[in-house]
Amino acid sequence: MAEPKSITITVDGKSLSAPAGTLLIEACKAVGIEVPSFCYYPGLSLQAACRMCLVRIEKMPKLQTACTVQITDGMVVTSDSDEVRQARKSMIELLLGNHPLDCPVCDAGGECELQDMTFKYGAAESRYMEGKLHKEEQQWSPVVYFDRPRCILCYRCVRACGEGMDVWALGVQNRGSSSVIAPNQGDHLECEECGMCIDICPVGALTSGAYRYKTRPWEMKHVGTICTHCGDGCKTTLGMRRSDTGMDIVRGDNRDKSGINGDFLCIKGRYAFDYFDHKDRLRHPLIRRNGQLTQATWEEALEHVGKRLKEIRDTQGGQAIGVIGSNRTTNEENYLLQKFARTVLGTNNIDHHRTTDFAGFARAITGKQNATATMRDVATASSILLIGNDPTEQHPLLAWNIRSNVRLNRAKLFIVNSRPIKLRRQAAAFLQVPEGRESKFVAFLNGDDTAAGSLTSPAVSNDSLKQVRDQLRGAQDPIIIFGSELRGADIAALVKFGSGVRAMFICLGDYANSRGAADMGLYPDLFPGYVAADGPHNFNEEWGKVPQVKGMDIAGMMQAAKDRKLAALYVVGSNPVTDYSFDPAALQNAFVVVQELFLTETALLAEVVFPAASAYEKAGTFTNTCGDIQLLKKAGEISSVRSDFEIIVRVADRMGADTKKLVPFGKGVHADMGQSRGAQSGEADRHAVWLTANNLDPRLSPFDPMAILDEIQRLVPGYEFSRLNLIAGNDEHVTAAEHSNAGAGNGLVQIVPANDSLFTSGTLGRYSHTLNSVIENRRSTESKEVMAD
C-alpha cells in the first residue's frame, strides 16, 4: 500500500505536515499542540459529542470539531483564540452544571480529565442556581460501579466495550439530560468483566469495586509490572501502599499504555492480583511432624530439606530425585531450578506442567529467521490464521489485538476451530472442523486434498476449505497462531506450510511464564535454549559435571514413585497431583518438598512446605507465549515469605553446594548472604540502569536474579536482548526456539492444557476473590453473545 502523501497545514501560525487523511486533532498532537477532548479516543469510532475540540478553520462558518475533520492541503486553523477558549470554557461550565463536584471523595480525583480541563480552561463560577440532576449510584457487578451524576456522556465506555471488546454490554438509555449509560441486564452487567470501561472513563463515573474509596491516587506508589496469570504478558500498573504485613496492592490498571497491551487489560490483570493476601496464603514454613504439617522456622525447614536431600543424593544418587518446576516462576528462577537440579541434585529428572508443545515448536522452527511473531505484530499483520485455542477466554490480549487489527486495519482473519469461538465474529473465514481434526487441516494446507474429507460438514464445504487455502497461499507475511491442539509433527507440518508464505508463528501456552519455563530448560531431555541433554553441549564446561542421560518427565516420575524408585520430589510452584492426577499414594514414601503460595493438593503431601513470594513480591523476567520478554518489577514484599530464587539458593547452600557457582554473583566481591533489598527489588534507579547497561553491576547478593540473567544471556542463544531496554520497562523479543538444538523428540509428550476461562487461572485463580465473585464465573452454559450495532 502506498503511503498517503504528506500535506501541509497551518495551525496557530505554525506550519506542520502530516499524511493526507489525518484527523486534525492527531496532526496537532503530533507537533505538540494539544486540542482537548473527552469523547475522542484513538482507535475508537468518532463521536464529536463533547465539543471540546472545537477550533476555527478558515472559510468555515462555524467552529469545527478537530476530532472529525481530516486535514486538507493549505488548511488554516486557529486552535487557541479567545473564541475557541470561550467555547471550551462554556462546555466545561455546562458539564460542571450537573456534576456533583465531589472531587474530594471521588476515586478519580487527581487523575480526572474533567479536573484537568477545568484547571486549564477555568470555569470557576457556577451560573446556575437550580438543583443538580441526581441519580443514585449503581453497582453493576462486583467490580464495576456506576455513578451517573459524575458521568459526562463521552461514550468511551460504550465504545471500548462494544468496538474494542466486542461485548456490547453498555448502551445509552433515555435522552437529553436524562441520558444514562446502562448495563446490558438492566440493573447489572453480564460481560467479560474486563474493566476497560473503568479505565477509559475520563472521570469517576465508572469505578472499580476493588479499589473504590480505598485511597487517593497520589498516596500510592505505582509499579509497572507484568500480570501473573495467562501467557500474554500484559503490563499492569499496581497501586502500592504499605501495610502491617509489608505491602498492600490497592489496585491494578493499565495507566501505563506503553506495554504490549496498549489500552487493554482483562479482569485478571486488573483485579486478580488479589490472591496475594488471601487468608489461606502460606506465611510460615511447614514441616511434617507426627504426620501433621506444623509451623516451623525458616532455619528448621532449610536445615531439614538440605540435610535430607543431601542424604538421598549421596546414598541413592540424583536419579532418585525428581524436580517439577513452574509456569509461573521467573526465567531466572526456572533457570536456577534446572541448574540446581542438574548440578547440585545431580539429576535430569526435571519437568514442568506442559500446557502446549513448545519443545516441538522449537524443533520445527529451529534455524529459521524471523519465525516467531511478537504480540505487537498481531495488531498489525495483514492476515492471521488461528488454529485451535479460544483466545477470548485463554489469551484475552491476543484476542484484543486480533480484533483491533481486523477493525482498524481490515486484517484478514482465518479461524480453524472445533468450537464456534467468539473471534469467529471477526473472521473472514471460520472453518468449524470436528474436534481433533486440526492436524488434518494442516495436512490439507500442505496440499493433501484427501484430508478435506474429514474436515467437511454442512457448514464447511470443500470449496470453502480450498478458498481459505488459496487465500493463505497468497497471503503476505501472515501470522499463524496455534494452540495445544497441534503438537510435534503437526507443528512441523504447519511450519513447513508457513515457511512457504514467510509466515511468523505464535505457539499458545497457558500461564504467565510457560514459554520461559520451556526456554529455560525445565525438561528432562532439554537444557536451556532447547539443547538436547544427550547431545553435544558445553554445559559440562560451564557448570561442571551434568548428567548426560535424559531424565524422567512427569509421567516417568509418577511411575517411578509408584515403583518406589523416587526417593524425593522437589516441587516449585506446581500442583502435579491435580494437574496430572499424580497418585498421592505413590508419594507416601517419598521426601516431598514444595515451594508454594498456598497449601495445594501437592503441598498437602509434602514433608516440608516453603512459603514462596508471589510474582508481585519479586523481580525477574517473564517470557510471554510469543517470546516477548519483560521485566517483572518487585512491587513490595510481605513478611515471612521468600522468593523461589532465594529458597533454592538457600537449600543448595544447606546441601553444601558452592552458591557462587550456582549463582555467579560477586565478581570477586565477598558474598553477602543477607537480604540485599536493593538488589532484589529490580527497581530501575538511574545508577543501577547505568551499571547494568555497562555490565558493571557488582551483584553483591546470591539472591540477585540479575546475576543469573547475566548467565542466561551468555549461555542461551536468542536471549541477547537489550538489557537497558528491558530495565527501562520495554519488551524485547527473544528467539531461543529459533536457535534451538533439540535433536529429535521422543514423540511421547504429555501435554495438559490448562483450559482456563476468563475467570479461572489455575491455583492462583482459586484464591482470587474477584475471579470467584463475578457471576459469569458461575454460568453453566455459554453466555449469549450480543451482536454488534
Binding site: A49, L94, M129, E130, L153, R175
Partner: protein, 442 residues
Amino acid sequence: MADLVSHPDETRVVSQRFGKGAADINRHLELDGYKAVQKALQMQPDDIINEVKTSNLRGRGGAGFSTGMKWAFVPKQSDKPKYILVNGDESEPGTCKDRLILEHDPHSVIEGVVIAGLAVGAKVGYVYIRGEYRYLVDIMRKAIADAYAKGFLGKNIFGSGKDFDVHWHTGAGAYEVGEESALMESLEGKRGIPRIRPPFPAIVGLWGGPTVINNVETLASVPHIILMGGQKFADYGPPKNGGTRLFCLSGHINKPGVYELPLGYPLKKMIYEVGGGIPNGRKLKAVVPGGSSTFVLTAEEADQMNMDFDSFSKRGEFLGSGGVVVLDDQTCMVKFALRVMKFYQHESCGWCIPCREGTDWLKKTLTRFHAGGGLKKDIDNIKYLAQNMLGRTFCPLGDAAAIPTMSIVDKWRSEFEAHLEGRPCPFEPEGSRTISELPVIA
C-alpha cells in the same frame, strides 16, 4: 380529520386534492394521479433533475436547500443500493402541513418518491412518519398497498420494465429524528442520533448507500412540477423561490389553518387578510415565522416581511418550516421562551454537551425566572447560555433552541426586567401564582 380552510388568495398546487377523497387510489386517478410518474418514466434521469432545478423547488422541511441540487449530488454509479427517504417526522412546533398531505393526498407522496427514484437511480423508497402521527400510518399503508395492487409499485411498474418498492416506517416520537441523519439512524433501528457529516447522505446514507432525503411537501410538489413544467411552478413565487408553500397559521388568529400561498406572500397580509386578524381586538406582539426554531419577529418586523427564503436569509434569519405562530399583546414573552425551551429540553437527544446541558439549564432558569425568582444577572445568563450553544452543537437542534431564545431576550428584554425582584408575571392575573409555587433554589 382536520378541518380544512380556504382563502381566495390561495394557489392550490400541492393542496389541490385536499378534501376530495384522494386518499382513495381510484379517486386520486380521476384527479390526474400517477400521470406525472408515467411522464417521468419517459424522461431521462437528468431531464427530471433539470425540470426540478428549473422549478426552483427548495426543501420544505425548513432549510430551503435546492431539491434539484440535492438530487444531482447523488453519484450515478454506486456499489450500494440507493434510497429515497421521505421525511415525515413533522415535529416542528407550529407546523402541521405534512400531516394534511399524508392524510388527503398520500399518493402524491408515493408518486414523488418514485419520480425521485427515477431521477437518481434508486429502486427503493421509505416513507418515515413520526410516531405521533399514528393514524396517518394506516392511511399511508393502505395507499402503498393500493399502489402495489395497481402495479404502480413493485416489479415492472406501469409496464416500464423498471422496479420500485416503497415501504412505510414509523418513528417512536422524537423531534430529533426530523434531522435527516438521525432519521436514517432511526430507520436502521438505532437511537435517533445524528451522524457526523461529511459524508453527506447523498454519498453515504441509509445502510451506507447514497440517499435522498426530502420533506413530504417537497416530494408531493414534484409530480405537479413534472406535469405543469418546472418553469410554471417557479413562476408562482419570486425569483429563486419557486412555487407555493403550505403555511400553517396558528396562535392568536381568527382563522387558523393551513393555506397554500405563493412564496413571497406578505406576512402582514397573511395575518390580517388570510388569517382574519387577531381575536378580541388585540394587537400583534410577535410572530414566529416558520416553526419555533426561527428568529421571533416583532410586530414591526412582521409588517415588513415577505414569506420567501431569501427575504429572511438577507437578514441572517430563516423562513423555516411554514409554521406561522401569531402572538398577541397579552402574551408573556418570558413564558413563551420557557414554553419553547421546555420543548427543546424534552427533545434534545442528549448526544452533545451544549444541547443536552444547555437546554436543561435554560429550562430551569426560565422556569424560575417566570415564576418571579429571577435575578438581574439571569437575563444575561440566559443569553450567554444560548450564545454558547449557537453553532457549537452536534446538529442544528442546539441552534434551534438558541435562536428563539436569543431573539426573545434581545427584543423583549423589558419583559424580563418586569419579572424581576419577585414580581409576579405581569401578564397573569394577580395572585394566580404564589411564592410557594416557586421552584426550590438549591
